[in-house]
């Protein structure tokens, strides 16, 4: 119990912050990408799909290694960032966000792509023939039409970022207060044989993930748009 009293919750907040920022960025980036993938007949579709799905099959350490090279002080992105911010991307929170975005990309893109493929095109066209602008059509017809896919994307993206370990360890370096998230903190507690702290964090992560899934799926089932007149 002593361990619990002195438990540092910084990794928890950092994990939540990382997952939140990552998912927010991914949703904004992936909506146009998924829409393009769902509708295009371009020959580039297959290579782009393959690239977005790579994180699914690559070992996290491989992905983490390349990202470390790319984001490190001598990497192209890292060098540029160092010039702007005065420090490299690797071993910092922004670097962690970039790595998480790439690692969780397929978990957000794929449900969104499926949602766009299943979107009723005629409803979108009907909205146009009724004089609605593209923005209004997106907000009133497209977003509600893809909401299940969007919720799945957010849940999977959030949960996956929350639980990632390999990439975070490679790119972030497990620096307490800076890049140490729950998953790497658990690893460290186990390493130093502090099983109580590791147990509390693990149970917390398990309960949180379960709760989020139950809430989101439950809400998704009952969600109906309100009459807006």
């Amino acid at each position: 119990m002593d361990a619990q009293e002195g438990l540092d919750l910084t990794p928890v907040w950092l994990s939540l912050e990382l997952a939140g920022v990552t998912v927010a960025l991914l949703v904004v980036l992936c909506i146009p990408l998924a829409r393009w993938l769902a509708r295009t007949r371009s020959p580039f579709k297959i290579p782009v799909e393959a690239v977005t799905a790579l994180p699914l099959v690559l070992p996290p350490t491989v992905l983490g290694f390349y990202l470390l090279i790319f984001l490190g002080a001598s990497g192209s992105a890292g060098e540029l960032w160092t010039r702007i911010a005065g420090h490299p991307l690797a071993f910092r929170f922004p670097g962690l966000v970039i790595a998480s975005c790439i690692y969780s990309l397929p978990f957000v893109v794929q449900p969104l792509q499926a949602a766009f493929e299943g979107l009723d095109r005629r409803a979108v066209e009907a909205s146009f023939t009724l004089g609605a602008s593209r923005t209004r059509t997106f907000l009133r017809v497209v977003l509600p039409g893809i909401r299940r896919g969007l919720i799945t994307a957010v849940v999977l993206g959030f949960a996956h970022t929350l639980g990632e370990f390999g990439v975070v360890l490679m790119v972030g370096g497990n620096i307490p207060g800076e890049t140490q998230v729950v998953a790497t903190a658990i690893y460290e507690y186990v390493y130093i044989l502090d099983y109580d702290s590791a147990g509390v964090l693990s149970a917390g992560l398990l309960a949180f993930s379960f709760l989020v899934l139950v809430l989101v799926y439950g809400a998704n089932r009952r969600w109906h748009a309100e009459l807006r007149l």
Partner: protein, 383 residues
């Protein structure tokens, strides 16, 4: 200009649609055609949901598209109403929200409830589309399109999504609504009953080309070519193998026409209700009865001519018809015989008549029947 001018040239991979139409500023125009003929594409082009390579669409004084001047009005700004084939209602919105979707904020509630009243949707305002029957969905889709008082109403197979029982009732309701509209309606369909009951004018479109355009009685009475005739439900079609002054013929025999036949005639059509069982005094052909079907108020006699050509005869239920197997004389009143051309693009045929075809015509003109080879060619063409 008061009417609607549609002049389009649209290509997508191997499909090519060319249409040049001028419609009056009121009434219902039905576009009939088989699947893949381009009729729905035509509607989408008019709605602005597809953009043609070359096009001119003008509704009244307003140009919607003029490729020559680089003018393109997006669908949002065309002020049209469109009812989609499966209605395309917004699944996440209630009936009232669907109807009010295209309306300005001011006065929205009032207009929505007017249309709810008018379309007999009282009590369904807060329902979602999945909680409605087929007929109710159709009314919501119509109300949604009409509430904006569109300059042009576009209907894409408005009754195809409902089953047969409901069709007649919905057709009647649609007829009643359309009759009250001041604006023109373009309706795409392949339903002949729907067309006959709703349309003032018909355009028959086949393979991306408008084959026939005219008033409903005109087009139904004289389809002009073989493909249009088939689309318009003509089943009695006789292949013409030769022609001479005032008459045409084939393996089935010879029939006189009103006036001299045009050299383009390839087929002869006659509607089943115009055929008579011989009572003397009218020209006729030998036939053999195959089957008799009772169709309520009429009887359908299926028979074959001597060369095997199948024909259908419709007679009142109380008129005696030959029994199956019986031979009889079938009469073809000359005023009801309709010469039909082969069915290619009419403008192309009129402009550039193929030389081989011309020779054939010259031979026909001299009277004797065409050679077996020519007959074979024509049969192959018609197939």
């Amino acid at each position: 200009m008061n009417g609607i001018r549609i002049d389009l040239d649209f290509r997508r991979s191997d499909f090519h649609l060319v249409v040049d139409l001028t419609l009056p500023s009121d009434g219902v125009t039905a576009i009939l055609g088989p699947s893949g003929s381009g009729k729905s594409t035509l509607l989408r082009l008019v709605a602005g949901l597809e953009r043609p390579e070359r096009g001119l669409i003008q509704v009244g004084e307003q140009p919607w598209h003029d490729s020559a001047r680089g003018l393109w009005v997006p669908p949002q700004k065309r002020g049209q109403g469109m009812v989609f084939q499966d209605y395309a209602l917004f699944a996440n919105m209630t009936v009232a929200a669907n109807i009010g979707y295209g309306l300005p904020w001011r006065g929205r509630k009032r207009i929505v409830f007017e249309w709810i009243e008018r379309m007999d949707l009282n009590g369904l305002e807060t329902r979602f589309p999945h909680q409605l029957s087929g007929g109710q969905r159709q009314r919501v889709a119509l109300a949604r399109a009409l509430a904006r008082e569109p300059k042009l109403l576009l209907l894409d197979e408005p009754l195809s999504a409902v089953d047969t029982d409901l069709r007649q009732r919905l057709r009647d309701r649609l007829l009643a609504i359309v009759a009250t509209l001041e604006h023109p309606v373009i309706m795409v369909t392949h339903d002949l009953v729907e067309t006959r009951q709703l349309a003032d004018r018909i355009g028959v479109i086949v393979g991306g080309r408008m084959h026939r355009f005219g008033t409903t009685p005109e087009v139904f009475d004289d389809p002009g070519d073989l493909q249009s005739a088939r689309i318009l439900g003509w089943r009695n079609l006789l292949a013409v193998r030769w022609m001479q002054t005032g008459a045409v013929g084939g393996d089935w025999g010879r029939l006189a026409l009103e006036g001299d036949p045009s050299p383009e005639i390839a087929w002869l059509g006659v509607r089943p209700e115009h055929l008579r069982i011989a009572d003397g005094g009218v020209q006729g052909l030998d036939a053999r009865a195959v089957r008799v079907r009772e169709l309520g108020a009429i009887r359908e006699l299926q028979c074959r001519l001597i060369d095997g050509t199948p024909l259908y005869v419709h007679r009142p239920w109380n008129e005696p018809v030959p029994a199956p197997g019986e031979r009889f004389r079938l009469c073809f009143p000359v005023q009801h015989l309709r010469p039909l051309i082969e069915g290619a693009d009419r403008t192309r045929i009129a402009g550039h008549r193929p030389a081989a075809r011309q020779q054939e015509v010259e031979r026909f003109g001299s009277g004797p029947p065409a050679s077996r080879r020519q007959l074979g060619d024509r049969q192959a063409k018609s197939a």
